[in-house]
């Protein structure tokens, strides 16, 4: 069959649906059938699934002209989705094609939700098209004889690649691809990504920076001109609008008319707890929505989530309060309006959410921005600009993630074993490990076999063994079993499932929340008030309660930062406070009462000024700095400055930061004049000082947590399987100390520091920020009390610590609190 005949089949199908293929879809078909690899840049719901499922099926038709009568069994293509919740949707669109075109191809799903029975069947005979997650793909690599499964696979599509890029799951994917490329000789690799700042790099990471695949690849962009309108919800009384906070409930009533005026409204919140609270409060104030409103977040059980998604499609819901769980996939045509509650911390994400409304090509998208505190209106104003300029962020890919590599190598050792000489070149071709040295590689191999670098007498370390012919292999069944369970744990805290006593799964919560509960406590979860009964077998037993409560589970989640571009937009908006009202955005204009308050004791800086405020409260001496550079840069600058001050005299700080500035809080007063006179904002010795400051804070320690879990140093147990491995559980904090004291040159321990540097501190941006400050005039305001700008920062409880004092001196000034009487 010629290529034209094949296109004809596809176009016919589109005609039958009364559709017309988009140019980007046609381009993708063509490139795929020409044997190219590529990256497709297309937003959710644009028809991207048809852009790639079609050529996959057409390719099969081409190779098997008698496809209607004769069927060749075995895996032909893999579709990777980062969220298993999306797999059903993808399967349905694939089945439409395979059936309508009269092939006998089968489509199957393999995720953590797939039953053991089905998995076993799949292992015997794989479906022709397999939809799976990065973790489940790794698990397949941990299967004996996996090369036979993948041998005839012709395509792998990594959907929502932007979500994986810049995470360790992305690294896991890179490694998986490096192996599949060798096993399946005719594999085409395709990625699908929403718009991000570094699309070209995204393609490099997917295909390998120096690979033939990259050379033989294309980038296809779906140019769907979509108009996005951002409307800020502006508080009617700015005088009483709070200066801090993150819930935004103050403006709840403003949302009601928006909900009433549209068919379906999605309300995006930033955290699951915020989602719970909003849902609860709207129903409390407006019981008339009962039955017409729902909630959707990642910890709610799958059935409920699917029900909600279906209900949105049926237009049977008026409003859905949700989190990023509805960011991806799932086409919801009927959504008319989207409300973003609180700063979205990312232009790409904001655009994606906006795109949820008017979800048809050509339709206008409307998104409302609801500020949770006054200063967020500046962010709202900056977002307007960002949307106009499409100032989307980069996703920074990881380099040299030794933890993920160790996990991967163990995976290979568990299945068929591996020969280092065969695997090393594959790994070197990936983006993540392109600069890995031979020494580092040797270290990793030693670590797998010996558990460190040298053989000790009496050591019984057991993991990977080297067989006579040099093959690295896991022969111990216990090690293999534990490793398979560990593969899914690239993310997360220990999660406990929440169930009714008589059964009935409600969702999952983090252990840290539930450990503070005692019997009889009531908490809100999944929109219900639940009474805590007990924890048994890693399950939380609850019953319904009518008692009121304000306890809502919190989930730790990555805190995102403003990008360089967005920070600049934010500063410019803020500087416009000094302009004539005519030249201000409506948001900035509405903030004038707040700016007036700020100006009583301090200033609203202009582009030439760098503001420092100091004041004392019962908490101690506050020293606040306002670079307006985003929280990560502030975290870095805060610890840098804290460290440099601590060299002048012994002092202890607690550091807080947000997207506007950072605070050094101490029990002693710092003379800011000394900071200025000693030129402590200098960029000289930046790297050394930053490194040293890192040693005195806790940042690396927190990074180590994930590293320890991924590399298999900490065993998390099998919460969902009800299997406890208490005798092997240890905590990563303890492990961090043990490594620091006894094996500081361990690559995994070192990795915690490199990661903090590359992914947390953004040294490059810090340098630019310092350069900017160097040409600004430093304005130091000694205030009598907290200013409006300072409020969101000083009330932040999440803090870093930094000290140059002797422990003994600190202990002498500290006390232990007596237990409160109950």
């Amino acid at each position: 069959m010629t290529r034209d005949e094949l296109y004809h089949i596809a176009e016919n199908w589109f005609q039958q649906q009364d559709w017309k293929p988009f140019p980007f879809q046609k381009k993708t078909w063509q490139a795929f059938l020409q044997g190219k690899h590529g990256l497709l840049n297309a937003p959710t719901g644009s028809g991207k699934t048809y852009a790639l499922w079609f050529p996959i099926v057409l390719h099969y038709i081409k190779k098997n002209p008698e496809y209607r009568t004769k069927h060749k069994k075995g895996l032909k293509a893999i579709w990777i989705t980062p969220l298993r919740a999306l797999s059903l949707e993808i399967k349905q669109s694939a089945e439409r094609i395979t059936e309508d075109l009269g092939t006998q191809m089968t489509v199957g799903i393999r995720t953590g939700d797939t039953s053991t029975k089905e998995r076993a069947q799949q292992k015997k005979l794989m479906p022709d098209l397999l939809i799976t997650t990065p973790e489940s793909l790794q698990l397949l690599l941990a299967t004996k004889g996996y090369d036979r499964i993948f041998k005839d696979c012709t395509a792998i599509v990594v959907d929502e690649w932007h979500e994986l890029l810049g995470t360790k799951r992305g690294v896991q994917m890179e490694l998986g691809l490096s192996r599949l490329r060798s096993v399946a000789k005719n594999l085409r690799i395709w990625g699908i990504s929403a718009t991000i700042g570094n699309l070209d790099q995204a393609r490099q990471v997917l295909l390998g920076p120096n690979s033939n695949a990259l050379e033989n690849s294309v980038m296809i962009k779906a140019k769907l001109n979509k108009k996005i309108t951002v409307k800020s919800i502006i508080p009617k009384e700015m005088e009483t609008f709070p200066w801090r906070g993150h819930l935004g409930l103050r403006l709840l009533e403003e949302v009601i008319p928006i909900i009433n005026n549209s068919k379906t409204t999605l309300l995006f919140t930033n955290t699951r707890s915020q989602c719970e609270i909003w849902f609860q409060k709207i129903l409390e104030k407006h019981p008339e929505y009962a039955g017409e409103m729902a909630m959707h977040h990642g910890s709610i059980n799958k059935e409920t989530r699917l029900w909600v998604e279906q209900a949105i499609r049926n237009e049977s819901l008026k409003a859905v309060v949700c989190t990023s769980s509805l960011d991806l996939g799932v086409d919801f045509a009927p959504v008319e309006t989207v409300v973003q509650i609180g700063g979205p911390k990312g232009v790409a994400r904001f655009l994606q959410r906006a795109g949820r409304s008017g979800h048809r090509p050509g339709k206008e998208s409307v998104i409302y921005f609801l500020p949770t505190h006054a200063l967020e209106l500046v962010e709202a104003s900056a977002l307007q600009q960002a949307v106009k300029q499409l100032a989307v962020e980069d996703r920074i890919p990881y380099l040299n993630s030794f933890d993920v590599l160790l996990q991967y190598l163990t995976t290979l050792a568990v299945s068929d074993g591996f020969y280092p000489d065969e695997i090393f070149p594959e790994i070197q071709q990936t983006f993540c490990y392109q600069a890995m040295s031979k020494d580092q590689w040797q270290w990793l191999l030693n670590f797998l076999v010996l558990g460190s670098q040298s053989l000790q007498t009496y050591d019984e370390y057991k993991k990977v063994e080297i067989e006579e012919d040099g093959k690295f292999k896991v022969n111990n069944r216990g090690v293999a079993m534990r490793h398979r369970f560990q593969i899914g744990t690239i993310v997360g805290d220990a999660n406990l499932t929440v169930r009714y006593q008589k059964g009935g799964y409600i969702g999952s919560v983090e252990e840290s929340f539930i450990s503070k509960m005692t019997q009889g406590d009531v908490f809100t979860f999944a929109g219900r008030n639940l009474e805590f009964i007990r924890i048994k077998d890693m399950q939380v037993h609850v019953r319904n309660s009518s008692k009121k409560t304000n306890k809502v589970p919190s989930w730790m989640g990555g805190r995102l930062t403003l990008s360089a571009q967005m920070s600049e937009l934010l500063r410019n908006e803020l500087y416009s406070a000094g302009l004539d009202k005519k030249n201000q955005s409506v948001e900035i204009r509405s903030l004038s009462p707040l700016f007036d308050r700020q100006r009583i004791e301090s200033i609203v800086p202009n582009s030439q000024e760098f503001l420092i405020e100091t004041f004392k409260t019962r908490d101690g001496y506050h020293h606040i700095f306002y670079p307006f550079e985003g929280r990560f840069v502030h975290e870095a600058m805060g610890s840098l400055l804290g460290y440099r001050i601590s060299l002048l005299f012994p002092i202890t700080f607690s550091l807080a930061f947000n997207d506007y500035g950072f605070e050094l809080l101490s029990d002693k007063e710092i003379d800011i004049q000394q900071v200025i006179d000693n030129n402590l904002f200098s960029k000289d010795y930046l790297l050394e000082d930053l490194q040293k400051s890192l040693n005195s804070t806790e940042m690396a320690r927190r990074k180590f947590r994930d590293i320890a879990v991924i590399s298999g140093l900490v065993f998390t147990g099998y919460p969902n399987k009800g299997i406890k491995m208490k005798h092997l559980q240890s905590n990563s904090q303890l492990l961090f100390d043990v490594f620091r004291d006894y094996e500081p040159d361990n690559l995994l321990f070192q990795q915690a520091f490199t990661e903090t540097f590359e992914h947390q501190l953004e040294e490059g941006r810090l340098r630019l920020a310092l350069e900017r400050i160097a040409i600004q005039e430093i304005v130091w305001k000694a205030c009598k009390k907290p200013t409006p700008f300072s409020f969101p920062i000083i009330t932040d409880r999440l803090r870093e610590k930094l000290s140059s004092e002797k422990l003994a001196d600190r202990i002498k000034r500290m006390t232990a609190m007596l237990m409160k009487r109950r």
């Binding site: 009496y458 050591d459 019984e460 370390y461 057991k462 993991k463 607690s654 900490v714 005798h727 092997l728």
Partner: protein, 223 residues
């Protein structure tokens, strides 16, 4: 080394930064929760905890013993974390260098046969009574006795102005009870909240500090 001492029922008790406690009149050194064998246990199951942490345990025990030169060394339980593994060999070698009489008050982790200990000249007891002092692994209240114990791995959270806080392992004393901190290099700790009748001695690398207790402020200032 900066120690602290106190009188309990007219007996002199000295706290050592290593987390050991010396009863001067009896020349008795108390050590609790060493958890030997834990590192090896983890390693045997494929978790590469640094091997050097093992040797450090023995060095630290030597330091404490050399400092006090006790006639008796009493382990207050959880001396060995797991079933028998290769660390036992190292323990045997270490025992050969110890001149003091050694006693083990067994704890929940001590599942190795007492015979193995007795072969090394160690008496294994479920509890030990000396005058009006009761030595156990689990904290216990018994009329007329003062109890020395371990098991809890106590630590204390210190707070200071400027939202400072510190967490330190400690000796935790109530009217009739003293809980020792965990000695081992690979053991965690558990924060205890003191009441009025408690005394707390926190340990750092080279010193012991008696901790001042204070009444918490109520409420937050900004909310």
């Amino acid at each position: 080394m900066n120690t602290q001492s106190t009188l309990i029922r007219n007996q002199t008790i000295i706290f050592h930064p290593s987390g050991t406690l010396f009863w001067e009149e009896k020349s008795m050194l108390l050590i609790s929760d060493v958890h030997l064998g834990k590192v090896s246990h983890f390693r045997k199951f494929g978790a590469a905890v640094p091997w050097n942490a093992i040797t450090r345990n023995f060095e630290l025990m030597d330091e404490a013993i050399n400092f006090f030169s006790p006639e008796e060394v009493v382990f207050l339980g959880d001396l060995f974390h797991s079933s028998l593994n290769s660390e036992w060999k190292l323990f045997e070698q270490w025992m050969a260098t110890v001149i003091s009489k050694v006693i083990l008050v067994a704890g929940n982790h001590d599942i190795i046969s007492p015979l193995k200990y007795e072969n090394l000249g160690i008496d294994v007891l479920s509890e030990m009574i000396s005058d009006e002092f009761l030595l156990t692994h689990h904290p216990e209240e018994r009329d007329g006795y003062f109890n020395f114990s371990g098991h809890i791995h106590p630590a204390i959270r210190l707070r200071g102005e400027g939202r400072q806080s510190l967490r330190l392992p400690c000796f935790f004393k109530s009217t009739n009870q003293m809980i020792l901190p965990a000695f081992g290099t690979f053991t965690g700790s558990h924060i205890l909240e003191p009441k009025h009748d408690n005394e707390v001695y926190a340990i750092t690398e080279d010193a012991v500090f008696k901790i001042e207790l204070s009444i918490p402020n109520r409420g937050r200032h900004f909310s």
